[in-house]
Amino acid sequence: MDFAVLVAVLVLLYAVLRVGHGATASFSPAALQHVSTSPSRLSYDAARSLLRMFIALFFSTVFTLVYGYAAARGRRAEKVLVPILDILQSVPVLGFLTITVTAFIALAPGTELGLEAASIFAIFTAQAWNMTFSFYVSLKSMPRELDELSRSLRLTRWQRFWKIEVPNGTIGLVWNGMLSFGGAWFFLVASEAISLHNHTYSLPGIGSFAGAAVAKGDLGAIGLAIATMIVMVIGVNVVFWRPLIAWSERFRYETTEAADTQRSLVLELLARSSWPRVLGRLRARLAEPLGRAMRILGRDDTPPVAVAARQRAGDIAFAVITGVLVAYGAYETLRFIVTSPGAGLGQIPHCFVLGAATFSRVVVLLVFATLVWVPVGVWIGMNPRVARLAQPVVQVLASFPANFLFPLAALAFIALEVPIDVGGILLMALGAQWYILFNVIAGASAIPSDLREAMSVLGVRGVQRWKRLIVPGILTSYVTGGITAAGGAWNASIVAEVVTYHHTTLTATGLGAYIVAASNAGNKARLICGVAVMAVFVVTVNRLFWRRLYRLAETRYSL
């Protein structure tokens, strides 16, 4: 089933690729000598980047509401939409981007609008899936009495959506929005420069600024860009996400209070101003006529009466049509790979070999990150005072786009003669490791203090304490962090296996480098092949390893 969906997603990408005929585009911040790196441009560039992030967030939210609702409400739609979402969530998005971007550029060829749309879409793909999944889950797991309340009061569908369903999903939406937004900086940096037809176009933004600085070897400008980036990440957190999270606490539907309340100074300031009242009045004025107009969508009072036979026939027809479409698409895709010049069936095993190389890098990374960060995370998590200070710092580290630092690392590799095949691991780790630390801290601080006291009184310490208390206690959180870190590492391999500083380019052996080469050369067949194999790797490992570990953690070791 999983693989059927995986194939379907790939077919979809193939279709997009064919639509965006012409050459492939690739993101290449390296070829940006002509872009200005004067410090006076920096604030403008940063503002443009930020704007792009928020536009993408807006589209992600709209997409989330529509897609999530459709998936939760339509019985047949659910069977298709949810697995697609699941695959999109666990597949290296960066690999897909070069494919999808071509379609956008084809929409408005040669103009900045097309590039802008492509960049925003790249950021969107980093944000949307998590948010959508969280909204879908909140719709499906809505408390039964809320559903009954809505039906017994005969709310209109519009009312039900805005008064019950959206508020009920808000907390999850905001949390996932924040995490995805953090992850999206990486894509922002990667997507502001696009090469097409061997010509590089760039958008004004912090990513292209940094790219140009690297291309010129201007260390001062690089430092400035890094500093700006840090300020932006922290600033958005303080001014936007923290207040939003504190505000969303009011949407908690439960009888017990949350363990620790979320606070935000900015929110408290805002609450004291007259803005909330003005906005409230404005909303009330708009909501009334809108609610009236939307009565047209009907009431929430139709009990599920179904004609079983007709429904079954419909299901079968639906399944058959979907199946035939996917099978045909798969055949077409395969034929394309086989018949394209410079590709062929031999590429598939070749990709698997390269995939194994990248996979081994991911494994080494995870093992080292675990050995280093689990003890540190446990120590931090068990000291509440340290944890309170460290948590936001780690969060910023996790959302700081590591690809910003790659050129500097490349410089170091060249100087120290570290082969990129090994150094690539380090580059991938720059971004991915923090997810493990972040989650382990959260897990360790959630271990109840009476359990720790009981262990201390019983004299359980050292290895025994780790085996009996700490590892079981943090396992669920660790697995969450591990999945995210592994996903991040696969994504990063596409930018970490080929690194350029000034005029030197280092290329590692791996699937990431293969995908980059294919997209630079405009070889679509190889590109599809590489991305497909990478998706197969990620999905297989997720199903065979992480899912099982997670289920074990959930059933045996949840506190």
């Binding site: 809320l146 005969r154 709310l155 508020p167 009011r250 539907y253």
Partner: protein, 448 residues
């Protein structure tokens, strides 16, 4: 002895809600049917309060939801004012056990929700909501969020929200059971005062409860539902004068009478003897009682020193709601440790031995009783003995049970059987692997 009095046709026209031959069957996983309600007839007239009383699992909440139109009956009809129901009943509103308030809306916004759905303009909405808030004693809390309120105040919001639409019939699903005793009593009294003063915005009330005293305190008619499947077992008229006094003799005699009806042997779970051969294992429904509860009640009864004890007063002594005792009492009867006649619990000879013995000995007695009288436990043991390695996945038994129970109930049944069987040292259970196995200590003695 308890029958529904025939109603005149004139009265029938005034009838608010009328239920005829209602049956509700839930579909189990393997496609079988699980009857929850069977052959229910009920009329609700203007001006009366009807209480639906039953143990958990008697389908009383399902029945309430059928009347509200939230759940479709499998067969039979529900009519509102003479018209058969298609979808939500337009003449009722519902008060929830868990309040079901939207925490992101203020008290007033919560109350206005139903009016807004009817398309009533904002000004009129606000006015009517404030009236309802005033009526129910929530004055001054209009702009509060539910989170800021105590449990009692939250349920007041629930009442105001239900009453503001001026329903013909107010449906209440165990509205006081999430509140502490004092708060519940206070709210009950205030509600009844409103009812008597004639200010009540609804014409009739149907309350679902498992609390006998609450039913008697509230209702003009009490309808007792039996379990598996839920049928109307009895209907009693409470014509006590209001306000009712619990200490009054007639009140307590009514409580005792209902208590007797609910605990009568034939009304409890089906007797184990009927299913001597293991084939019927799934049909005997195990009450969800822990071994500790069973032993505790037996010991308490023994310690009383009397021939038998009155369950209602025993409940008062241990500070239990009498209804919480039902599963334990059922367990004692199924195991053959006690008998119940008209609300009085009497330990059998085995029961006395069980209660008086030390841990090891009482385990032995329990083991014997469980093997003999609890078909599910016996069946698990036998199946394990006949399996090649003495171990089976719990899913195997769940599948067996699922043909007669809902998925959740099948799991609950197996959990109870596992709890009993483990205590009796008849088998072991590995939760991690979800595996039931024969007691290993009997096969390979532990050497240490």
């Amino acid at each position: 002895m308890h029958t529904v009095s025939p109603r005149t046709s004139a009265a029938a026209r005034r009838t608010i809600v009328s239920v005829r031959q209602l049956t509700k069957t839930f579909t189990t996983r393997d496609g079988g049917g699980l009857p929850v309600l069977e052959g229910i007839n009920l009329d609700v007239q203007p001006g009366e309060i009807v209480a639906l009383l039953g143990k958990s699992g008697s389908g009383k909440s399902t029945m309430l939801r059928c009347i509200a139109g939230l759940v479709l009956p499998s067969s039979g009809t529900v009519t509102y004012r003479g018209k058969p129901l298609h979808g939500i009943n337009p003449g009722v509103s519902l008060v929830f056990q868990t309040f079901a308030l939207l925490p992101w809306l203020t008290v007033q916004q919560n109350v206005e929700l139903g009016l807004e759905a009817q398309g009533i303009p904002p000004d009129e909405r606000a006015q009517r909501a404030l009236e309802a808030i005033d009526l129910i004693g929530l004055d001054g809390f209009e702009s509060a969020f539910p989170k800021e309120l105590s449990g009692g105040m939250r349920q007041r919001v629930g009442f105001a929200r239900a009453l503001v639409v001026e329903p013909d019939l107010l449906l209440m699903d165990e509205p006081f059971s999430a509140l502490d005793v004092l708060t519940a009593e206070n709210l009950r009294t205030e509600l009844l005062e409103l009812w008597q003063a004639g200010e009540f915005p609804a014409q009739a009330i149907l309350i679902v409860t498992h609390n006998i005293e609450e039913a008697v305190a509230f209702a003009d008619r009490v309808i007792v539902l039996g379990t598996n499947p839920g049928r109307i077992r009895a209907e009693l008229t409470c014509d006590l004068e209001r306000p009712r006094d619990r200490r009054e003799e007639h009140f307590s005699s009514l409580v005792d009478e209902i208590y007797g009806i609910m605990t009568d042997r034939h009304t409890a779970a089906a007797p184990a003897e009927d299913h001597e051969d293991g084939g019927g294992a799934q049909h005997v429904v195990l009450p969800h009682a822990s071994v500790d509860g069973i032993a505790g009640l037996a010991e308490l009864t023994l310690a009383g020193g009397e021939e038998d004890v009155d369950l209602a007063s025993l409940a008062a002594v241990v500070g239990f709601a009498i209804d919480d005792l039902f599963p334990i009492v059922d367990a004692l009867t199924i195991l053959g440790f006690a008998t119940v006649t008209s609300g009085r619990l009497h330990l059998t000879e085995t029961g006395e031995r069980f209660a008086g013995a030390d841990i090891q000995r009482s385990k032995e007695i329990f083991r014997e009783a469980a093997l003999q009288r609890v078909p599910l436990v016996r069946r698990i043991r036998r199946t394990l003995e006949h399996s090649s390695d003495g171990a089976l996945r719990e899913g195997f038994f769940i599948d067996l049970l699922a043909s007669h129970h809902s998925r959740d109930e099948a799991q609950a049944q197996l959990d109870t059987a596992i709890d009993w069987g483990r205590y009796a040292e008849l088998f072991e259970y590995d939760a991690g692997r979800g595996e039931i196995s024969l007691h290993v200590h009997t096969e390979e003695p532990v050497t240490r």
